[in-house]
Amino acid sequence: MDGSGDNNGDLGYQNRAESVMNCPSSGMNTNPFYASAWDPVVSLSQPGNFVGSSTGSQSEFSNSPFPIVMENPGISNTCHLVRYPSDSGFIELVPKFPGFGSGNFSEIVGSLGLTECSQIVNAGCPPNYKEANNESTSHGAQRQEDHQLSEETTIGALPNGKRRRRAAESNSPFDPNKNAEGEFQKYPSGESSDSAKELDEKKQKIEQNRGANSCGKQVVKQTKDNPQSREAPKENYIHVRARRGQATNSHSLAERVRREKISERMRMLQELVPGCNKITGKAVMLDEIINYVQSLQQQVEFLSMKLATVNPELYNDVERIQSKDILHSRGGNEAIRGLSPGTNSHQYSHGTFQPGIPVIPNPNPHFSPAHHAILDNELQSFFQMGFDSSSAIDSLGPNGHLKPEL
């Protein structure tokens, strides 16, 4: 696939970059490199997003301006090689690999040298990506192979420098045929072993992309796809890949993860607090949340005061309701026996009200009737009992004035 395919969005680069996503055969428009596993951390952007700027352009791959040589027909189902125009100025994208189902990636070449993308690996999905540092586009063909090797590198957090060198060295071709089989995950023995080891050593593999590494997040969930990758052992930590244009310190990466966690929680809160759809910004949102919590707490206090004034009557019914509970356990709408001495015992079924009862507002305005059968029962029993024993009510007066003692 040549770059001729759809260029996703605007590529920040010279437009030659063909993203992997352009592999029509893969059927996925998005970068094949993106693994779904990345979800929580990265929202895979559409292939088009490539923009040189950071953020989310997950489609880093697409950005790679390298020409990718797709040679293996076998890979067709997955992302095929993307041709990346190799521009010196371009930051290489991490070649993603078959792990993603994508074809071979061309290595990333560019003036930037190599990009190390940290991969997000979940439990041992080996990220197959190669760091391709290809100095020259001429190595296009080789690039693919290079990529393969990057798989292992991706796994671990290798310093950029290291990677680069390794990648450069590893330009030795991997057998393109391997790619054909679609097993990109396999790393060429030499490289993978090295990288794997390094990777293993690191506790937390965070690969830093060099500067604008558009590799973005690659979640490699492709374990299934790449059974053979003998990637680094399954590790439980999360690999984070720096996005393009973002700092690649391990600290900053960790901070980024933390920040994203926080913003995800804020979004959750935004859904809970009514009327916060338009608010953007943590500070304002926090204030809103504080106000809402305060108002809820005040409401509870107010309601408890209200209940305290109505209490005596409540007590009667509570008894009945309690007994009703005991009798009927769950889900049963059964007639309530009059248990409380003050109330007339009426048998009533769940849905019926006494005809003579004065206005009985729907007891459950707040509940969805379908869902709270039991509660409805109880509340309705409240009604009925409350109103059945009209004498009790009368004594209370219109608003249930508190009797001194009941």
Binding site: R258, I262, R265, M266, M268, L269, E271, L272, V273, A283, L286, D287, I289, I290, V293, Q294, L296, Q297, Q299, V300, E301, L303, S304, M305, K306, L307, A308, T309, V310, N311, E313, L314, Y315, D317, V318, E319, I321, Q322, D325, P358, P361, P363, N364, H366, F367, H371, H372, I374, L375, E378, L379, F382, F383, G386, N399, G400, L402, P404, E405, L406
Partner: protein
Amino acid sequence: MTTKHVIATAHTRSIKNRFARRFLRSLLKMKRSNRLGTGFQSNEDIRKRNTQRIKTAADRSMARVVGPRKIWSRALLFKLRNRARIQVGLRNRCLVSKKKKVQRKEKKVQVISREPNRADNLRKLVPGGDSMDICSLLEETAHYIKCLATQVKVMQSIADLYST
């Protein structure tokens, strides 16, 4: 998020029911204790006392329903228990000696000193919020809001029954 939302709603529904049950039970208990209780107080005092009791009953039943799974519910139960102990202690002792004051210091599980932060107010509102980092504070707040809203709904409907 949709799945989460669905789960959350299902969860809330059962919380609602369970809370309602427990709350009613506690009201019943209160009634009984009221009967035995004091007749010396004025109506106002009685009302105030009942208000306080109802509120703590509601809080306690909500915290019980949630269980020890959440930080805020644990902290809330802890606080309520301590308060009850202090009160009981005071009651038992005030007659004996007024000089001795039983002071029970609430232990803070963790005391984390931070720079004044915007979220400090939130920490004060959410029970147990002092010892949480921002990330878990937000998570706990979300759950707390859900449960508070449930509480309000249940109490509102009970109050509605009697307010007509």
